[in-house]
């Protein structure tokens, strides 16, 4: 089967290994993640006032993107993988947000 040439021919495994990050880069990412986590936890000890919650959400998203992008190689791997994941993620966000909105703000009880 290796003799048939598919039109959407792929790079071989070894090829895409080349642009994988180095351990040093991984460690750097981990340091960043650690700092972000420290910042997160500090919101508990220090009073950030109104920006605390938006800040936490932003930090969460950034951490998410770092882990997904670097550790899970989304930045380097095929875009198909990312699409799979983000489809699930955004579908979940959309559907559950809608359901929560209906339950909290438009239950018949309030009408």
């Amino acid at each position: 089967m290796s003799s048939t040439d598919a039109p959407e021919q792929a790079s071989s495994t070894d090829e895409h290994d080349d642009h994988h990050p180095t351990p040093r880069q991984y460690v750097n990412i981990a340091v960043v993640l650690a700092v972000l986590t420290a910042l997160e936890v500090s919101t508990y000890f220090l009073d950030f006032g109104v920006i605390a919650i938006p800040l936490l959400v932003i930090l969460m998203v950034v951490k998410f993107l770092y882990v997904a992008g670097w550790f899970m190689h989304l930045k380097f791997d095929s875009r198909v993988f990312g699409r799979m994941m983000y489809t699930g993620l955004f579908l979940a966000l959309g559907l559950y947000a809608l359901a929560i909105i209906v339950i909290l703000f438009d239950s018949a009880t309030i009408a």
Partner: protein, 370 residues
């Protein structure tokens, strides 16, 4: 408010003529029978939706005829004929213009239907407001409906009395008092000729508007599956002229009479309050005998004016002496319940013949007419 109701009545007459022409003759045929018939509205809150569905049904019928017509036409016209030369037909791959047509036309039709639908939703759910609105609280139990009239402090069950030509706003919830005031399962209150259905959700309050144009007995049914005896959870609305309704309120607001000492009925009352050792009727039911006492909901239906109702036990049995006796003797055979396994319903209290005689005699005194 009155005004809209009048215009509704007007449109009602109009759609009656429209319905007459509707192709679905069977719809019409059916519309003449049955007291639990969704096609035969008897009040504005049932009429509104009806006036909406009739044109939709016509549109659907047209689409139906169109699609089936196309299918039948193609089947006949394009069948392979006996004398076919075996060649292949023209290989058409599609036609963008046609495809746009049958995308846009249904979309437009639906957009047109959507407008009155959304209006109808708000109309259906809005509080009718005004001074003459009667409030009734409906509590769904497994497996019977309890009604409470907050304006008059009246408890009753299964049969709801309402005055005609008066909007009624039901405030509904569900509970199985046997377990806790907030536990219960979902039910749905539905009197088809007076209004659509609305679920009763334990721990929440939902609302339903209804109104009857004519006096009469309107049948209904719990319409959300609620377990074992869901089928035996029926409901009735007894609509009466406002004057009769006032009389009814009067009667219900009078305490039950206490039978004279020494009679069989009085023995029954004794037993009702104390079944030595066995669970007393009074622990689940209330018979309100003294103006000074508070009226309260119980695990079972309020029995104060039991005989003012025509049916009992989820409105599945006629209120006759015989039936009441059978009920007390073996409630489960009259209506499947789950007292033993689940604490739901009325227990079999192992009553002796004498006890039955006395209790039934007592129950029969609970009649506001006497």
């Amino acid at each position: 408010m009155r005004e809209t109701r009048q215009t509704r009545a007007g449109s009602r007459r109009r759609t009656r003529t429209v319905t007459g022409i509707v192709v679905l003759a069977s719809l019409l045929l059916a519309a003449c029978s049955g007291e639990q018939n969704a096609l035969d509205p008897a009040g504005p809150f049932a009429q509104g939706p009806h006036d909406l569905i009739v044109p939709v049904a016509i549109i659907a019928a047209v689409v139906f005829v169109l699609v089936q017509g196309l299918i039948i036409y193609s089947v006949i016209r394009f069948r392979t004929r006996k004398d076919d030369d075996g060649s292949l037909p023209v290989q058409v791959h599609g036609n963008t213009r046609l495809e746009i047509v049958w995308t846009v036309i249904p979309a437009v039709i639906l957009a047109v239907i959507a407008v009155p639908t959304v209006q109808g939703i708000f109309e259906q759910m809005d509080d009718p407001g005004g001074d003459d609105v009667l409030a009734v609280e409906v509590i769904g139990h497994r497996w019977w409906f309890e009604y409470y009239y907050p304006d008059y402090d009246i408890y009753t069950a299964n049969e709801m009395a309402i005055p005609t030509d008066t909007p009624v706003r039901l405030e509904m919830t569900a509970a199985d008092l046997a377990r806790s005031p907030e536990q219960g399962v979902v039910h749905s209150f539905w009197i088809p000729r007076l209004a659509g259905k609305q679920d009763l959700v334990p721990g929440q309050t939902t609302f339903l508007n209804m109104q009857a144009d004519e006096p009469g007995r309107y049948l209904g049914q719990c319409a959300e599956y609620c377990g074992l005896s869901h089928v035996n959870m029926r409901a009735r609305v007894e609509a009466m002229e406002p004057a009769d309704f006032d009389t009814w309120v009067e009667q219900q607001s009078t305490p039950a009479e206490v039978p004279e000492d020494g009679t069989l009925e009085a023995d029954g009352r004794e037993l009702y309050n104390d079944l030595d050792g066995r669970q007393a009727c009074a622990s689940c039911h209330q018979v309100w005998e003294d103006e000074g006492d508070a009226r309260a909901a119980g695990q079972g239906p309020d029995l104060t004016h039991l005989l003012s109702r025509e049916e009992f036990a989820g409105a599945i049995h006629d209120m006759t002496e015989e039936n009441l006796r059978d009920w007390l003797e073996d409630p489960n055979s009259m209506k499947p319940m789950q007292y033993e396994v689940n604490g739901i319903g009325m227990p079999d209290l192992d009553l002796s013949e004498e006890e039955l005689d006395a209790l039934v005699a007592y129950l029969l005194t609970l009649d506001p007419e006497s």
